[in-house]
Amino acid sequence: MDKDLQRIELKMLVDGPDQPNLDSLLSVFDRWRKQDNAPSEWIDLADYAHMPKGPGVLMAGKRENFGVNLIDPGPGIFFTGKKDYSGSTADRFVEAFRRCLTLAGALLAETEYPAAHSPRTGDWLVVVNDRLDFPNTAETDGEIRPGLEAALGRVFGEGTFTLTRDEDPSHRLGYRVQAASALSLGELASRANG
């Protein structure tokens, strides 16, 4: 594939009510934005908690955005990667998972993280946030899928997940990943790092 896959978005769905109170994340992200030399190159936090089905509360960074959003199919911890991916398609997806899981682990370790919203570590959305170079078509799916499946095999385990593409052409190229049995966040992170 000769296109440069950089904009990889991941979302790990969480349990709990559809409209969680995200206010406690403001303190968390206030601390995060003061971190020196964070790999994510944080810019600032952004508060969209007033929007039902909106972007929630997030950290905007030069390398990625990260936070908790309320966008369908439900609330979840999301990661929007922007740059610094290299290697094969599979390598890039694995790297995105590695970065996302690192941040998710850090977020979940924060005392202010709302306990009611425990992560569903086996229920993910994977989106290529780039309609220009990766339109949501069968052809692009054919280009991406092998690498994505290989990456998911590394993170979740071979043959342990289903991968369903969102065929709505108005949506970005995206997939629902559902693992047969959920590994813990730590186990997933370890596999992504491995």
Binding site: S27, K53, G54, I71, N129, R172
Partner: protein, 708 residues
């Protein structure tokens, strides 16, 4: 990574309208040049502002403002906006108080492709910011309003596209804002707070009913609001474009350019007085060469704007569902055309997510034919909904979480971006608006649906939230107690949006961010107790006097110490200690003379000529290098008072004013004249020589300009 010499992938975008494609290519070229240190940062700043790319409070990211003339949107445009905000921003479209769309946290390297994709849908970001004619606004109900004199839409459209990129509007010292209203009484157009405010009117002339406008000039909010003054009781519609062009010329020529805080046209008008201003405008009008675009733009607008319903008219349904009944009451407004209604989509804080926007576009496709508008109240208005469809539309909006009731009521608060993203923000206008929105659902729900009061909030005194024209206006401020500072809001009362914003409020008292809701409760109770028949809050304030109002709310300005109430030293929805942090706003950045822009264009064109040479395109290289020299010559001619819209002969005038007078180095000038005679069909060797000659010519022009 792209560099200054990486060719732009124009092939991919060959389907765009040529002019827009080239314009965006130029933007990308200049972006790369400034990143490579080949262009002045100062010039690039104004250049990017003129493409709607505006530096945020946070370093390294931009706000992209997207012009939506008259707030008119098609469903396809909504889908495109959804896509680009999802991919390049944070997944939110924000509707502004001037009917634009903004998105935040954009990487400037994404801006060119954002602009190209918007151009695919016929949307431009050009002149959305900067010292230019900004978005032309218009009543969102124009064309379907029961009270309008006539549909102002085609006239506003003609104005918007006539003034866009107009050469007479490139040398302003500050921004310039134009609005159109369909009638005098309602708030929609806010004519009296614009540089040019046009209010539709019909006058009988020689037995004919002639469409025209009552024209106001020199209005503006900002830190020092000015009411626009009546320029003319009646300007025929076909005279509006030349009038605007004449006013633009006067403003460009005589407006303040050094002192940014005094550079709006309102200050020029105050200095000259209306009589002298009219005289100068009439003088410009008299010498304007006839421009076929004056008539052509209006004709084009009338031909292209032909709003039609998707479905036939129908009767209003009866609403047995109390929620539907309430929604019909607050969010649905009657059309002047029987059988149809307008649906107002209430967007708290003016925000709609990308996915909501996309699915709303789908909903609109089912019920209307591209008749959607943004409003200055930061909502969306869907026009031409056949009445029997209203329950289905309501249901569709509910599924999208877009059926919030109370559009246009007290709970529908206007707020600028404030400290969330603006360099000038002092207090969190959006935090306050979000907090009040929540309280209007719980704790203040008895006030939520009031339709006699409006709240508008700005993050600072510059009034982007239009606090001066609100019944209850608030702007961000700071109060110090000991070594600590607290975020507060100045309460501004006495303003109104009615009658096209006929009066502005004045400050009454400071209120802590956390006590604004209490102050609002107190004010509404007072208003209800004191008002006489038909009085607005402004009327009551004027009648009872500000001293009494100050007694009412003055207690809120007494700030406890930090030790007594540390929570007051944090801004709303910000659990960290407040610090005032403002930067230099780009809205009032340094004024860049049109000559500087032209010289920058000259450099760029000559650079592109050298790229063409590398690609073996001699004809292109010769043409571009000559064009570069022409731009440099125009820059110098500008310093002599020649205006591009005078359509002068550049080579001839340059010869007369700079060659014959020995101001310009003769050998370099003679190269220019020879190139004019040669044309662009030259050999490769000659093309190369021409590029070098152009470099020398442009350098010499820079030297002459530096001493002008």
């Amino acid at each position: 990574m792209a560099t200054a010499t990486t060719p732009i992938n124009s092939e991919r975008w060959a389907h765009l309208p040529e002019g827009m494609r080239q314009e965006i290519d130029v933007f990308e070229t200049e972006l790369r040049r400034v990143q490579a240190g080949q262009m002045s940062e100062k010039v690039f700043l104004e250049f990017r502002l003129r493409h709607g790319t505006y530096g945020q409070r946070q370093e390294g990211v931009q706000m992209q403002r997207i012009k939506i003339p008259m707030g008119m949107l098609t469903a396809d445009q909504m889908t495109k906006l959804a896509d680009i905000t999802e991919e390049y921003a944070v997944g939110v479209c924000h509707i502004t108080t001037r009917q634009d769309i903004q998105c935040h946290f954009v990487d400037i390297n994404d801006s060119p492709n954002m602009m190209r994709r918007l151009a695919e849908a016929g949307i431009t970001t050009k002149e959305a910011c900067g010292n230019t004619v900004r978005n032309v606004t218009c009543c969102p109900t124009a064309g379907v309003c029961q009270d309008e004199a006539f549909d102002a839409t085609p006239h506003a459209w003609a104005m918007a596209y006539f003034m866009l990129r107009h050469s007479d509007a490139q040398n302003f010292g500050r921004k310039f804002k134009i609005s159109y209203s369909g009638c005098a009484d309602h708030a929609c157009g806010l004519a009296r707070m614009h540089d040019i405010g046009a209010v539709a009117k019909i006058q009988e002339i020689d037995g004919r009913q002639v469409e025209g406008f009552e024209v106001y000039v020199g209005g503006g909010l900002g830190s020092l609001p000015h009411q626009a003054k009546l320029y003319s009781e009646f300007v025929p519609a076909d005279e509006m474009l030349p009038l605007a062009q004449s006013i633009a010329r006067v403003f460009a020529r005589l407006g303040e350019k050094q002192n940014r805080s005094k550079a709006r046209m309102k200050f020029l008008l105050a200095k000259l007085g209306m009589d002298e201003f009219r005289r100068l405008v009439a003088e410009e009008r008299a010498r304007l060469p006839k421009d076929p675009a004056w008539d052509a733009q209006i004709a084009k607008a009338c031909a292209e704007i032909d709003e039609q319903p998707l479905k036939p008219p129908s009767a209003m349904p009866t609403a047995s569902d109390p929620e539907l009944a309430r929604w019909l009451d607050t969010n649905v407004h009657p059309h002047k055309q029987d059988g149809y209604s307008m649906v107002e989509v209430f967007l708290p804080l003016g925000d709609i997510s990308s996915e909501q926007m996309r699915r709303l576009a789908d909903l609109c496709r089912k019920h209307v034919k591209n008749t959607i508008r943004t409003s200055v109240d930061q909502n969306l208005l869907i026009r031409w909904v056949t009445n029997e469809d209203l329950p289905a539309v309501y249901q569709g909006l509910k599924e999208l979480e877009l059926a919030e009731m109370g559009a246009g009521r007290l709970q529908d608060i206007t707020a600028c971006p404030g400290t969330d993203s603006c360099k000038l923000g002092i207090s969190s206008s959006r935090g306050l608006a979000a907090d009040l929105h929540k309280k209007f659902k719980n704790g203040m729900s008895d006030l939520a649906d009031r339709d006699d009061l409006k709240i508008k909030i700005s993050g600072c005194f510059n009034s982007c939230g239009q606090h001066h024209i609100a019944d209850i206006g608030l702007f961000g401020s700071v109060q110090r107690k000991g070594q600590k500072t607290a975020p507060v809001f100045q309460l501004v009362l006495g303003g109104t949006t009615k009658s096209n914003a006929k009066s502005y409020g004045l400050t009454v008292s400071k209120v802590s961010s956390h006590q604004v809701s209490d102050a609002i409760r107190k004010l509404t109770t007072f208003y209800d107790a004191e008002k006489k028949e038909g009085e607005t809050l402004a009327d009551v304030v004027e009648r009872v006097g500000r001293a009494r109002i100050r007694d009412l709310v003055g207690g809120y300005s007494a700030l406890p110490t930090y030790e007594q109430a540390p929570e007051l030293y944090k801004d709303i929805r910000q659990p960290w200690e407040y610090t005032k942090s403002i930067g230099v706003g780009e809205c009032a950045g340094e004024m860049i003379d049109q000559a500087e822009f032209l010289l920058e264009d000259a450099d760029r064109l000559n650079f592109e000529a050298s790229l063409a040479l590398e690609e073996g395109k001699s004809g292109d290289a010769a043409a571009k290098s000559f064009e570069g020299c022409k731009k440099a010559a125009d820059a110098l001619l500008f310093t002599k008072g020649l205006l591009l819209s005078d359509n002068y002969d550049t080579v001839g005038e340059f010869r007369k004013l700079f060659y014959d007078t020995d101001v310009f180095l003769k050998p370099f000038a003679e190269n220019f004249f020879r190139a004019a005679d040669e044309g662009s069909e030259v050999s490769a060797e000659r093309a190369r020589l021409r590029t070098e000659e152009a470099t020398l010519f442009i350098e010499c022009a820079q030297g002459v300009y530096s001493q002008a």
